[in-house]
Symmetry: C2
Subunit: 366 residues, 2 copies
Amino acid sequence: SNKKLLVLPGDGIGPEVMREVRRVVDWFDKRQAVRFDLEEDLVGGAAIDAHGVPLADATMEKAMNVDAVLLGAVGGPQWDSLDFNIKPERGLLRLRKEMELFANLRPALCFDALVDASTLKPEIVSGLDIMIVRELTGGVYFGEPRGIEELPSGERRGINTQVYTTSEIKRVAAVAFDLARKRDNRVCSVEKANVMESGVLWRDEVTKLHDAEFKDVELSHMYADNCSMQLVRAPKQFDVIVTDNLFGDMLSDTAAMLTGSLGMLPSASLGDIDETGRRKAMYEPVHGSAPDIAGEDKANPLATLLSFAMMLRYSFDLGEDADLIETAVKNVLNEGKRTGDIVAPGATMVSTTGMGDAVLSALDHL
Amino acid sequence: SNKKLLVLPGDGIGPEVMREVRRVVDWFDKRQAVRFDLEEDLVGGAAIDAHGVPLADATMEKAMNVDAVLLGAVGGPQWDSLDFNIKPERGLLRLRKEMELFANLRPALCFDALVDASTLKPEIVSGLDIMIVRELTGGVYFGEPRGIEELPSGERRGINTQVYTTSEIKRVAAVAFDLARKRDNRVCSVEKANVMESGVLWRDEVTKLHDAEFKDVELSHMYADNCSMQLVRAPKQFDVIVTDNLFGDMLSDTAAMLTGSLGMLPSASLGDIDETGRRKAMYEPVHGSAPDIAGEDKANPLATLLSFAMMLRYSFDLGEDADLIETAVKNVLNEGKRTGDIVAPGATMVSTTGMGDAVLSALDHL
Ligand SMILES: CC(C)[C@H](C(=O)O)[C@@H](O)C(=O)O
Ligand SMILES: CC(C)[C@H](C(=O)O)[C@@H](O)C(=O)O
């Protein structure tokens, strides 16, 4: 049966990179065993402009009923002054929360052809292949109480709550251990157990789950500040990192930047497998909406394309089709084709559309 | 009148690096206008072993009554399994909290002689000179409620509270703006105002203070995840960064690692100026207790020495004496003398004591 996809291009460069990805989706639809039914809708600033909210209820409803969501990017300066609760980001956070996408997979991969794009020395990052598993529906992002209150003194007080339960910790840790088994079999769990009780619980529950069900996987623990350092000092020491929502936000961005090519990095956000055997899932590039180059046909569509490849792998168990995309991308890079963000002396600069053309042609030649 | 110092060497390499620093303190005591009365006491694991607590009340009392505290480092594997509330770190956190050391100054400076020690490319870090001002007595480190509770379901829940008030934000921001005026006059304030209300308040109060009292300083705002990236991508874009306790913990460690020489980086933790004109203050290296090399006369004493230089500058307004130390350190590095952590081909490796000797001799020749 056809796979139902909801495509949410969003803001900034979202629509133009998504256009190229849709051409690749079409290619798969025509050439491979898999068939897709696509629907497109609005999220973020685009939804605010159309409906006054960053995600309409009807769109949320659709997201709940498809096999997977593919998202571009949200946000831009024209919506920056809006109130906290109706900013573009809230659309994204609502999708994550209501779909219960608790496990955010962020690979930080350094492509051989792009080693020189990193600000780190080649020997530090060449061959880098880390998978960060970030908890995505808990912690300080969603904890209550939260808000800003007026004190009798006339001062104000801002509050957020970092909270994790046993089951929230275990389900994301299980995803990390499972992934590690298919990789180098090592998980590093990251928190601040020396300062935060929520971190003590995190470490404790991860350890218990490990000892009960994943004894074959090598488990280590690290404080988040030390992890921030170690990612810069010797990133190749890591295989899978599992951490909470806020630490994951920062550490995955550091890790992404190590590779020097943010425009190349995909992500997957996964929920639980339900009674019908379906796992809710959303796929999106790590980069943002890049309003400064939006509409100029300059943006790199590869991160969104590789997010689609993750979808094939994680939502549809089509690992070989995912491999096809990843190989096509590598071939295009090896041919020296580069969008502006990763261009280097000797390379051929191409537009967003040009990169789409190159990938399609590479796919045809596989 | 003599300056009263409390010296807390702590654990691991703390005592041996402090020994070298005390020789330099003696040098100043004998040669310069300033006189010191030193007292030494225990903190961290050393205090646990002696008194069963990571900081005895009598030591806390002393800290409250001296002109400045100089601390080595705390922690080590032998105390890792202790309960959260009596770990070595609690000694440090108690000092910060009871002395109300709300402003933690962490310079990330790349020494010319050590550019190659960085894992980043020389052009990215050479000349790097960032000052991170981290709020140190608030936020999730101290917020209530906190703890781990049992739920009726049998699950456990871990809670910490991120909380900031108007005055907590303003006093640390004022320190950052003041510092910026003596530097490149730029402050970047970092939070997650797109996700956390405490971050919305932070941004708001920093902006208000700026507009009211520091209009001449250039102010920008950045999300913490983006800052994690930008530190790796282009760290020289920053002059002063001001941020909260937890973000500051991670970002200052990333920044420290960019310089490639953690063993070189000092810090100052400052309180308010009281009625008697005295400002409570503690100075400590950014590196930890490095238990793996403790007692081997290998550790780099320069970070603790440069922390003493910060004391001369910030507690005693002895900027010229601080300059003497900083120049002596640069000269020693330029002579090619290096402890193991920063040794490189062509350099002369020296011990902890050897580095102390080299600095004293450099001071004699200034
Ligand atoms: C846009 C923002 C709300 C989001 C986050 O903080 O999670 C982003 O930084 C991310 O990492 O996906
Ligand atoms: C030792 C630990 C409690 C401390 C902190 O988290 O503040 C340390 O990492 C630091 O940055 O000084």
